[in-house]
Symmetry: C2
């Protein structure tokens, strides 16, 4: 099988980690019978400065028409609003209808307090519809934004969360060690304040998860503020968390803190038949060009992308190689307290494939 992968490094360390992702794909054992072709694509603040568009139409078209999947690095946000600029990754998620942002946060099993959760974040609506207006009120400026929650988006994201819970259980049943015994989905919302919007999310998620297919999946709820509290007090209890866009954004950074570094946390932006792997860290201009960015978030994002292309064997190989590197703990990047370069970490992981 030959897979065509779009590569969108973006800004900052995106340019260092996406090439590492490419190397990983090129280094997968031939026994997997996978071939890859790559197409380099532009997006980001630098692209905006050069072309006036942060997300060129050409990038979207090539992804849509020619690619089986893609890897996205990171984009820089200007420190003050720049006219005409808006985040290309948010736009990309919407234009390709990549309705789920899947963010597994997992420590190695040998950690003192192992955790293993995945945050399934709705990726197309909520406050991210970016419908804002500003007007002059009697006491100065007032700005409003719309938070939109739909039955359709809530249903499909909860369904995906249920499917991921089942898939994780299948992997556990196959003998992969885990801290969880049975599948569980936690629905996050703030319906005690937002009874209509978050109320709709909550009720719809419950409806989707009531499908007999999910009868083995436990379902519980957490209000978002107490979810953040529990995330830090009892992180080991969480298996799959499903949340509207903004809460998912916040929760996944919080969960990342638990494993020691954002540099470890991958994500996939997933739609019908298409997935873009994306490390959760940003463009990190402060460490750019130093060859010290942690490549693991990207390597795991490659694996996650492959999972959504049903290439689970390839994904499993990558996860195991990364875990091997982390468990040995000899070649770690500076964010994990080590002194290895990006290249050294990548090479150590490739050796373990």
């Amino acid at each position: 099988r030959t897979l065509r992968i779009g590569l969108i490094p973006g800004d900052g360390i995106g340019k260092e980690v996406i090439p590492a992702g490419r190397r990983l794909l090129e280094s997968l054992p031939s026994s997997l019978n996978l071939k890859f072709e790559f197409v380099d694509l532009k997006a980001g603040f630098e692209t905006f400065e050069q072309t006036g568009a942060a997300l060129p139409d050409k990038t979207v078209e090539i992804l849509k028409n020619e690619c089986d999947g893609a890897l996205f690095g990171a984009v820089s946000s200007p420190s003050t609003a720049v006219k005409g600029y808006s985040s290309p990754i948010v736009a990309l998620r919407k234009r390709l209808d990549l309705y789920a942002n899947v963010r597994p946060v997992k420590s190695v099993m040998t950690a003192k307090n192992p955790i293993d959760m995945v945050i399934v974040r709705e990726n197309t609506e909520d406050l991210y519809v970016k419908e804002e207006k500003t007007y002059e009120g009697p006491e100065g400026k007032v700005a409003e934004a719309i938070k939109r929650i739909s039955y359709k988006a809530s249903f499909r994201i909860a369904k995906m969360a249920g499917e991921i819970a089942l898939r994780r259980q299948k992997i556990r049943d196959s003998g992969v060690p885990s801290i969880h015994k049975s599948p569980m989905v936690t629905i996050t919302h703030k319906s005690n304040v937002l009874s209509q919007t978050d109320g709709l999310f909550r009720a719809t998620a419950r409806e989707a998860l009531a499908d007999p297919r999910f009868k083995s999946v436990g379902v519980e709820e957490q209000i978002v503020d107490s979810m953040v509290y529990k995330l830090f007090r009892q992180p080991e209890t969480y298996d799959v968390i499903v949340a509207p866009n903004l809460y998912g954004d916040i929760l996944s950074d919080g969960a990342a803190a638990l494993v020691g570094s954002l540099g470890l946390v991958p994500s996939a932006n997933v739609g019908e038949g298409f997935a873009i792997g994306e490390p959760c860290h940003g463009s990190a201009p402060d460490i750019m060009g130093k060859n010290i960015a942690n490549p693991i978030a990207t390597l795991r994002s490659v694996a996650l992308m492959l999972e959504f292309m049903d290439e689970e064997a390839a994904a499993a190989k990558i996860y195991a190689a990364v875990d091997g590197n982390l468990e040995e703990g000899k070649l770690l990047s500076p964010d994990l307290g080590g002194s290895a370069t990006t290249t050294e970490v990548v090479e150590d992981i490739l050796r373990r494939l």
Copy 2:
């Protein structure tokens, strides 16, 4: 000076901790020259079930016309939406224009990694305006909520954050030991996505803090998701955090997790010349009636209320008595791993006044 205090226990353990707050006020040393009168007031889910109103008008009127301050316990949220019921504390904040929710999160100085921050949360707008609507779209129900951010509310909350930063510095300068050397305010927002609403919050907060009065106060910014990440990775770096309503809600629960229990975290809802102390924990129906609720969040909320009534000497006495109890660590409630009852903890703290 005689102060008249409204007591609103609300539901659940609110009924156990608010009486502890009253006892504390009655037990303050006479050298402080403070007298207290109390008026019992109703609000909460039980009140709603009895009277049809979660926040009776009478409660609001007595607070407005007769009281110098108040203590609020907690309210239960029904597990599914109940027609006509909506959170009385959210309503109270708005009706009394208690525009700031001040939440200090502090470990004892003898903690392994001491932290000492205060979250200054805007308390009247953002998604808490609760302007929602639901309509039938082509693919099912759609619900929308308004997130409103105004110049006026953003300015006054940032100004209050600046004032609190200065006040904290004054207390440090007077010799009270602290982990901070100089005052700092961190502005939290998500203006990389919400350029108008959160952009307005950010720009206005910067403007308010640029006042020459605050020239000794450092000002920095954090995007809310990375704020949650940093809160858990480097909590000791934060002094004063200012945030729109919802982010403030989430951040304060997150910060509470760092000190080991929500049962330790106080808050004050503050307006012009009026403050309501409120423990950050909820009504905790699971432990209600067992006399094991941690009273410390309420006792510290009493102190915080007194600070906003300019009774700083009384507040300092209470903080010191609570710290004494925690540092000794002999009489702790179950949430802190101890086995003391609510009454025993209260009595230990009263002894230390």
